[in-house]
Amino acid sequence: MVGDTNSANIDLRKVCMVFAKPSGEPLPVLADIDMAMRNGEILGLLGRSGSGKSTLLRIAGGLIKPTSGEVIYRGAPLTGPCEGIAVVFQTFALFPWLTVLENVEAGLDALALPREETRRRAQSAIDLIGLDGFQSAYPRELSGGMRQRVGFARAIVTRPVVLLMDEPFSALDVLTAETLRTDFMDLWIERELPTNSVLMVTHNVEEAVLMCDRVLILASNPGRIAAEIPVTLPRPRNRLEDEFRGIVDEIYSVLTARTVASIGALAQVHGGIVQPLPRASVNRMSGLVEKLAAPPYNGQAELATLASALALEVDDLFPIAEALHILEFAELKDGALKLTAAGGVFARGSTEERKRLFREHLLRFVPLAAHICRVLGEREGHSAPRMRFQIELEDHLTGPDAQGTLRSATAWGRYAELFAYDDKKRLFSAIRSAG
């Protein structure tokens, strides 16, 4: 717990991670990550889904071996899971067939301790985390919050120097998550945990500011550290303070700047056809536009405000905002979302008017949609298999990205009545009236 504050517990040096696409081509997920977990700090990793933050956490824990670069744990290279590092999982990862006590004791299996010592240590971890009385319960009898408490107890029972937490509260409802966060922070502030430093992956901006001493923001494709934001507010922190809000806004600004920059960059390549499209349904887009047009926002709102008002996390809110930005119904800038003139018309329009406007914008600003229409017009029978476009996209995008992009384009195109799609035959076809 005490020690030289300058030394790092885990030090990642020039870490790169490359997966292989199904076609065998390399797919970089992490590029040149330099990251050190300092003594006594909680370090946050914040990023959109697909930024490789969970992969990074697993590399730090020795669960995945990086393609290149070094992981140093307390001065020696890390070659695999090792004593002193414990992981808390997003999905809790409890063994359903073991009771709470047995689950916690399982954390000690590798140490081959005497039976009484195992029981004693498990019992004290259970007491600390507030699970007393639940020892003989099976995980399925517990609520989500209690399950994650077991997850914490199981990690802490090994007396880890370093605790790695992979979105530990994101599978919980808002109230439960808040309780667990507070309890964890109380233990941390009171120094009751045996742990020296914590690495936490999250996509909840407020959570990061509330808990961390330092937040690293990851950019996507490939994942790299885009910014480092220190949080020096005294604990316990108050979400309503101006300084707190200031840091939250700052983080949103960084995130939007990254998003806008990457949209701009990819629109230039290959006629924009291969620009990845966010997964956002038309219903959600309409909902956000309506919300934005109505008071109190009147056409403009901070993302941080929207996120807490709509109870959406970064991963939920950003795809919708991004889609609106791409379609030019709204503009994403400096952590705020501002409705464009067309967005205002869309918000007021009837179903038919909305469809017409959406169709125009889709053809103008989403080159892939226009491309599909063009191909359908040129081909005999005015139809084309889905595979044709997927292969084209996969030349430039990863498999999941290509699929997601095509799925969004399909959903948007169907709504706009630009083209039809038959999922059974996996076939796009032109709609005669639209041609």
Binding site: L63, C82, P96, A106, G107, A110, R140
Partner: protein, 578 residues
Amino acid sequence: MEHHAEVLRGGVWHQRAAGWRDLAAILLVLTIIILVGAGARQMVAPLVAGEQPEISLSPMALPAYALRTTLRMVAALVASLIFTFTYATLAAKSRRAELVLIPLLDVLQSVPVLGYLSFTVVFFVALFPGNVLGAELAAIFAIFTSQAWNMAFSFFQSLRTTPRDLDEASRSFRFSGWQRFWRLDVPFAMPGLIWNTMMSMSGGWFFVVASEAISVGDLHIALPGIGSYVARAIEEQNLVAVGWAILAMTITILIYDQLLFRPLVAWADKFRYEQTAAQAVPRSWVLDLFRRTKLVRGAAAPIGTMMQAAARARLSLPSYFRAGDDRVPSSRLLDVAWFGLILVGLAYTGWRLLQYAGTELSWADVADAFGNGGLTLLRVAILIVIATVIWVPIGVAVGLRPSLAEKVQPVAQFLAAFPANLLFPVVVYLIVRFDLPPKIWLSPLMILGTQWYILFNVIAGASAFPTDLREAAASFRIPGWRWWREVMLPGIFPYYVTGAITASGGAWNASIVSEAVSWGSTRINGSGLGAYIAQMTDAGDYPRIALGIAVMSLFVVSVNRLLWRPLYAFAERRTRLD
């Protein structure tokens, strides 16, 4: 017997292996069978299968016979479990082993067990000359083959679909291979494994009955058991004794189910991976008894503690058992060498097979076998259609009434587990009595035991049909025929396909004992591939038995690949909502 573990579990059916692997594996299996058989044949002549006790037809002898039969079942179960744990683990943890083991398993699943019974009997009897142990082992082996492949497949599938977070947690806690096996692998696989074992049990009863009394050429074996009892009753044309045997079997199966499987299923409920509480928790009075009785619990506690300690021990297995680090692409050179070794092995076996077949068989034999195969195929197809027309409407009617389904479902499961070959003599007696044409009237025997799979799968499907969809259909007043076509049939289709796969696989197997039957000295031959194999077995004509098995395997594998798998994939795709 074709059960296909993953289908029965309701999982996704992945195309596991390419076609050439099947062919290669068929080749391998056949060659091994033939070589073993050919080797053993030379030993048959001087061999007398020990002193065999006379089978008594007195009903008083039946309880003891039932016990002997049950013991064989238990022994086979233990052997299957050991096989499952080793074979499937090896296949799941080593990429190179998987390349060979899994296609092999796939084919073994499709080879008719009763077909190679003759080979295994001769082989085991030759292992223990003059001793009844050989014949016992052969019977146990027959049961083993009816369940081991399914169980191994189920276990293999579970090992490959271990939830990622539990896998990571296990690695992060640095479990040893042994600890991981008992902490994660086995518990996770348990529900599927028990379910598959239960499903295989019907095949087990069927084969234990068929394998207790068997004649290969001049070798006649009759092990004390219900199967031999029935065989003796047939010889003596004693219909009353057949009735006693049916009764004894019914009671045996019920007891076996109550004492072994109900408790197992109830106990295994805690291994369900889904974290939600189940609506209907399986119960067992035996298990409750064990859990509640202080005396029993006290006696069991030290055993439990010992087993816990054993599972906790950090035994280290050889490195290829360890998960996680062996799936990385390893050296190319070793891969090439391994592949080369497989090819050489295949080439050698292929050459041996051709050499052997060339001297013993002619093209006319092949044509004959294929002709008979066509006839059996026709029978299976017609029977499945008839069973479908009868059982689908009934199954739907029952499944939509939960209180009725609750009563009918156990009966259907019991009927599926009951060895239909015990009922054959009754039907055969009627055919002889009324002089019916055997080519037609022997056919229903094939599906007598396996049609119930269609029924209880359809009941399960109809019970699981979402209530809101039914209510929507009712509120739109969708009329009769369209209700069937647009609402109910698509809803139960995946379940139906699962049942039909099992039913048709079982029918092929049953054809070997049902296409040629006897009543006393009267022999009835319905012709077909099953009759062909049965005849050749009686004659001890090994090359033609092998030919028959090969052709039957080919038919079964082809029907699976060309009909059932595409249908299943279609059903999967059609009924998914996301």
